[in-house]
Every structure is written in structure tokens, then in C-alpha cells.
């Protein structure tokens, strides 16, 4: 069994019974298994490869028959063209996306760990009812309130500004649930008691006992939140109608609505928009996969 990041160190490792030869054969991969896996991997990776192929061709070559299958030499040129595209404002979009996703990530980890700690380890009236509200909030699609939310943003004068896509998402139910679940297992009650006896206030307990114990889960929550926010489309599409101040996904939308579809430029744009998360995935892929496998990701 692979060690997954989210399993708290406190829990003893599950013992694997020694397997007999018979059992070994039972779990052996057949040629069919390999075939399926290789096919799955190829299909998963091909669109990434193709993104590079088209992004590195001239638009004429991109739209030729048969379609090109090998990268060309125009990658730098296409990237430059898309960066300078006055309708897409992708540089602004990238900066905005970093700002918005970064802010939400920090806020989610902080508020999520604080509330998760409260729900896991503190006693207070109305705790269960509050947890139910949080759970219910996770089931409600944003579409349900989209119109009043839009009106609210207009009244706040936040349309076409970054607060409109940041503030409503500073803390969601998912972060709280994930941190609560982890805190329950990873923060020993004795440690909290001991800190209390020493005269620690609740805040100091949080800061000196809970935060160090929650660090692995907080890292995973941060990664997942950043990825989710970076890829946000529906709500930014509603409130960021002005292409002059987009997030990077809205820049892509501007490329998509252009009168003349310049595919090599569009693909250079998708490449730029995906690159930051690609870097994140290469560096922290194991943690992200661990997070997903702990059932930690919602849509």
C-alpha cells in the first residue's frame, strides 16, 4: 500500500499479511491489464502533447490535412503573439489569477484549519447544527444564487474587479471538513490538555499545537484549492465581462471568441494557462494524488 500524505502519522501503519505465491499470482498484471493501462496513459497524455504540437506550428500548418503530429519551431513566436494579444490581455490575466488563487488558498488554509480545529477539538453549543449547514452548503451549486450574487456585486461596485471572484470563495465547506477530519486523528487530546494546564489560551493551542500537527493536510488543501481556483470559469465569466481585466481563463475565452480563430495562438494560450499547474503537479503530484485518494477532492 502506498503511503498517502493525508494519513496522519499517529495512526500505526496497516500491517500487510505475508502473501503466498498463490496470492501473488492472483494480483499479477496480465497482458490485457498492461494494454488497458498503456492505452489509458496515451489517451491521458496525448492532448498535452498535441497542445505543444499546435502551439509550435504556424496557423496554416496547424490547419492542414493530414493534421501535424510533430512539434514545429514556432513556439516562441506563438507565445509572444498571444502575450501581446490586445483582446486577451493574458499577462494581466495571469497576474490576476495568481493574485486571486493565492489569496483564496491562504485564506482557505487559515480559516479552514481554524474552524476545523474548533469542530474537531472544542466544545460549543450548536456544533452539529453548524456542521450540517456547512455540509449542505457544499451541495448547493453556485447557479442557484448567481443572479442575486451578480446584483450584489453590482451594488458593491465590484463588477470587473478581482474582489468579486475572491471574497465569496475565501472559505468553503470543503476546507473545513477536510481539516476537521484530519485534526480529529492527528491532534492528540492529551497534548491540548497539557497546553491548557500550562495556561495556553485557545489561540496559543491552535498556533503551537494544532498548526504543526495539521501541516501535511494543510499543504494538500492548499494545493487542491489553488488548482481549483486557478481553473474557475463559470463565476468569473459572469462578473468579469470586461476583457481588460480578466483572469487567465477569461483571457482564453477572449481568444475563443475572436472573429478569426488563430489556432496556434489559442494553443499557445492554453499552454501558458496550464503551465503553472503543470509545475505544481510535477513538484507535488504525489501529494495531490494522495489527497484525491483520501476522497479529499470534490468537483
Amino acid at each position: 500500500m502506498t503511503t498517502t500524505t493525508l494519513r496522519p502519522p499517529a495512526r500505526p501503519a496497516r500491517k500487510q499479511p505475508r502473501e503466498s505465491h498463490k496470492a501473488d499470482r492472483l494480483w499479477k498484471a496480465t497482458p490485457l491489464t498492461w494494454l488497458g493501462l498503456v492505452l489509458g496513459v496515451l489517451l491521458s497524455l496525448f492532448p498535452f502533447y498535441w497542445m505543444i504540437v499546435i502551439a509550435s506550428r504556424t496557423n496554416d500548418a496547424a490547419n492542414s490535412w493530414p493534421p501535424p503530429f510533430l512539434p514545429g519551431g514556432k513556439l516562441g513566436e506563438n507565445i509572444q503573439r498571444v502575450l501581446e494579444n490586445g483582446d486577451a490581455n493574458i499577462v494581466k490575466g495571469l497576474m490576476n489569477s495568481f493574485l486571486v488563487s493565492g489569496t483564496i488558498t491562504v485564506a482557505t488554509v487559515f480559516f479552514g484549519s481554524l474552524a476545523g480545529f474548533a469542530f474537531a477539538k472544542l466544545r460549543f453549543r450548536g456544533k452539529n447544527a453548524m456542521l450540517l449547514v456547512i455540509l449542505a452548503s457544499m451541495m448547493v451549486p453556485i447557479q442557484l444564487g448567481v443572479l442575486p450574487l451578480y446584483i450584489l456585486m453590482a451594488e458593491l461596485d465590484w463588477l470587473n474587479t478581482m474582489p468579486s471572484v475572491t471574497v465569496p470563495f475565501l472559505i468553503g465547506g470543503f476546507g473545513i471538513f477536510m481539516m476537521r477530519q484530519y485534526a480529529e486523528q492527528a491532534v492528540p487530546n492529551e497534548l491540548i490538555e497539557a497546553a491548557r494546564v500550562d495556561g495556553c489560551s485557545t489561540w496559543r493551542v491552535y498556533w503551537h499545537v494544532v498548526v504543526p500537527a495539521l501541516r501535511p493536510a494543510a499543504a494538500v488543501l492548499g494545493l487542491l484549492t489553488f488548482m481549483e481556483q486557478w481553473n474557475q470559469f463559470f463565476w468569473p465569466f459572469v462578473v468579469l465581462a470586461d476583457p481588460a481585466n480578466p483572469t487567465v481563463q477569461i483571457s482564453l475565452r477572449s481568444l475563443n471568441t475572436a472573429y478569426f480563430a488563430d489556432n496556434s495562438q489559442i494553443f499557445a494560450g492554453t499552454l501558458i494557462a496550464t503551465l503553472p499547474l503543470f509545475v505544481v503537479f510535477v513538484l507535488f503530484g504525489r501529494q495531490i494524488i494522495g489527497g484525491i485518494m483520501e476522497g479529499a477532492v470534490k468537483s
Binding site: 492472483l26 498484471a29 483520501e294
Partner: protein, 328 residues
């Protein structure tokens, strides 16, 4: 915080040092009682503030607005009762078209998505070299945004010079106009959804499969059960809660389908979902009503019906998944 309270202590009682020390102790004790009592509420407060302002209030407002004819074009707002809902449900073919499209694409994407994810997970659950590589590779699509997926696949499904039509040509099939034909467009959009989500679901299934006791399989194989038989009689029933979970997540996501069909049309006018709305989804229709026709009251009704459909379908899927896996 504690500093404020200390300085706010009543003056004039100075003098006796013992008394002062006792007072300080008492004050600390009451501070600590306050801390114990109110800190938890303070810690969960941020969520509830955000939730109240940006979720609960808009949702309540949606219910109210759906009962009115509010529009930025109307000077006055009048209460119209259930008129919006009556119109939506009985005399709006475009809404029903969007419902049909959304459900069509939902079924067309979710069924193969979850089945292929199960097969992939089953393969990953074998003894393999390079486990990490395989897991990373199949999980990779989740780093792409729906916008990126839509753009890449839009080109794959281009009418001329598209990769999909090139493949069809190789096996001697005439090119397909993927946007003009309803079923073809549903298929194309479903593949976008599936490409992004199969690996993710496979990892969730894999995690669940790894927690099934290996003894069960050994016992079954001693009894002569084939691998296929073991898959259907052990793996699937044991995975029931996980399957229910993925089905519900896919339902919530699938019925909100938006970006892929929107960006499947390049140029302006994506919101109408094709020349005859052949792939306009409910969410696209909602924004169409809200931003193009400015019928805000009516849009509120659309949003509410969409939510009810999602809740209803989640329930149906839950019951369905419970049925199929308990039959075994």
C-alpha cells in the same frame, strides 16, 4: 485583546498588593472562561459570514426574485406569483430543449466515465511496476481547466482538418460536422468531460479497492471464481459507497455543464449552444435569460428548477446505485 481588558480594569483599588494580585488572578480566570466560551464561535465565524452574505442571502433572494418580473428594463417590479414557473414548465420549448441536452450529455458522459474509471482502477490495483508513473499520468488531465479542455477538443472536432475526422477518414468513414448534428455534438462534449474526469474517478475507486480485504479474493479464487467473477461479485459490491459518492458528484457537476459546450462554438454567440441550440445546457440557458434577455425574475425560476433537478437526480442516482449493488 487581553491587553485592552487589562488596561480597562477599574482603577482606584490600588494600594494593597495582595488584593491587586488576587484581582489579577480572578481577571485572568474570567478571561480564560471567556476564551473557552467564545473562541470556538470566533473560529467558525468567517465561514458563516461568507456563507450568509454570498450564499444564503443570494439563495433566499433567488426564491423571491423568481416570484417577480424584475428586470433592469422594468422601472417597477411587480409580484407575479408562480407565473414564471408556469411559463417555464408549460410554454417554453427552449428550456425543455436545454433540459434534454443536459440530461443527454450527462448520461452519455457519466456512464462510460465511471465504467472506464472502474476498469482502469482495477488494472491499477494489480501488482505493477511504475505505479506512481501510471497514477500521475492518468491523473494529469485534472490540471487542465474546463476552458483549456474545451479549446483543445474543439480543434480535435473541427469540421475540416480535425483530428477526429482524420481518424474517421483512416477507417473510411465520411467526415462528421460535429457541431451541426445533435448527437455528434453531445458525443464530442461528453468526451471532453470524460477525458478530464476518468483518471480522477479511477484514483478514487483505486483507493476504495485497496481497502478491500485480500482474503476475500483469495477465498474466492480457491473456490474457483474467475477474475471477472471476482470483479463483479466482490469488487463492485464492496465499492458501493464509493460508487454512490462518484455518481452524486458527477450528477452535481454534470447537470451544471457549461464551459465545454459554451466554448465548443468559436466566435461570438456561444451561449446559444449551436445554431439550433442543439447543445445548449440549462446553465447556458440561465445566463441567456439573465444577460441577453434581461428577464431576471424568469432567470430566478430557471435557477430554482435547475437546483431541484440536481437534487432530484442525486436522489434517484443514490437509490439506483443502492439497488444495483445490493442485487449482487
Amino acid at each position: 485583546m487581553s491587553l485592552d481588558l487589562h488596561t480597562a480594569a477599574p482603577p482606584g483599588e490600588g494600594g494593597d498588593p495582595h488584593r491587586r494580585a488576587r484581582d489579577a488572578r480572578r481577571r485572568r480566570a474570567s478571561l480564560s472562561r471567556l476564551d473557552l466560551k467564545f473562541s470556538p464561535y470566533l473560529y467558525v465565524l468567517p465561514f458563516f459570514v461568507i456563507f450568509a452574505v454570498f450564499s444564503a442571502y443570494p439563495i433566499g433572494y433567488t426564491v423571491w426574485i423568481a416570484l417577480t418580473d424584475r428586470s433592469p428594463m422594468n422601472a417597477t417590479i411587480s409580484f407575479v406569483g408562480l407565473d414564471n414557473f408556469v411559463e417555464l414548465l408549460t410554454e417554453d420549448p427552449q428550456f425543455w430543449n436545454a433540459v434534454g441536452n443536459t440530461f443527454g450529455m450527462f448520461v452519455l458522459s457519466t456512464v462510460p466515465q465511471l465504467m472506464l474509471a472502474l476498469l482502469l482502477a482495477n488494472a491499477l490495483n494489480r501488482k505493477l511496476r511504475a505505479q506512481t508513473f501510471f497514477r500521475m499520468a492518468i491523473a494529469m488531465p485534472i490540471i487542465t481547466s474546463t476552458a483549456v479542455v474545451a479549446l483543445i477538443f474543439s480543434m480535435i472536432y473541427a469540421k475540416e482538418f480535425g483530428l477526429a475526422n482524420w481518424l474517421l477518414d483512416l477507417v473510411g468513414i465520411d467526415p462528421i460536422d460535429w457541431r451541426a448534428n445533435r448527437l455528434a455534438s453531445w458525443f464530442a462534449i461528453s468526451t471532453m468531460v470524460d477525458w478530464r474526469w476518468i483518471g480522477y474517478n479511477a484514483l478514487i475507486y483505486l483507493a476504495a479497492m485497496q481497502s478491500i480485504s485480500k482474503d476475500m479474493y483469495e477465498a474466492a479464487s480457491l473456490d474457483g471464481a474467475s477474475r471477472r467473477r471476482q470483479f463483479w461479485s466482490i469488487t463492485i459490491p464492496q465499492l458501493r459507497p464509493t460508487i454512490i459518492f462518484t455518481l452524486i458528484v458527477s450528477t452535481i457537476g454534470g447537470l451544471q455543464l457549461f464551459t465545454e459546450p459554451l466554448m465548443f462554438t468559436s466566435g461570438a454567440g456561444g451561449i446559444s449552444g449551436g445554431s439550433e441550440g442543439q447543445f445548449q445546457t440549462i446553465t447556458m440557458y440561465l445566463l441567456d435569460v439573465m444577460n441577453t434577455r434581461f428577464r431576471w425574475g424568469y432567470a430566478g425560476a430557471v435557477a430554482l428548477v435547475l437546483f431541484l433537478l440536481i437534487a432530484l437526480m442525486s436522489l434517484v442516482n443514490y437509490l439506483f446505485a443502492r439497488r444495483i449493488s445490493s442485487d449482487k
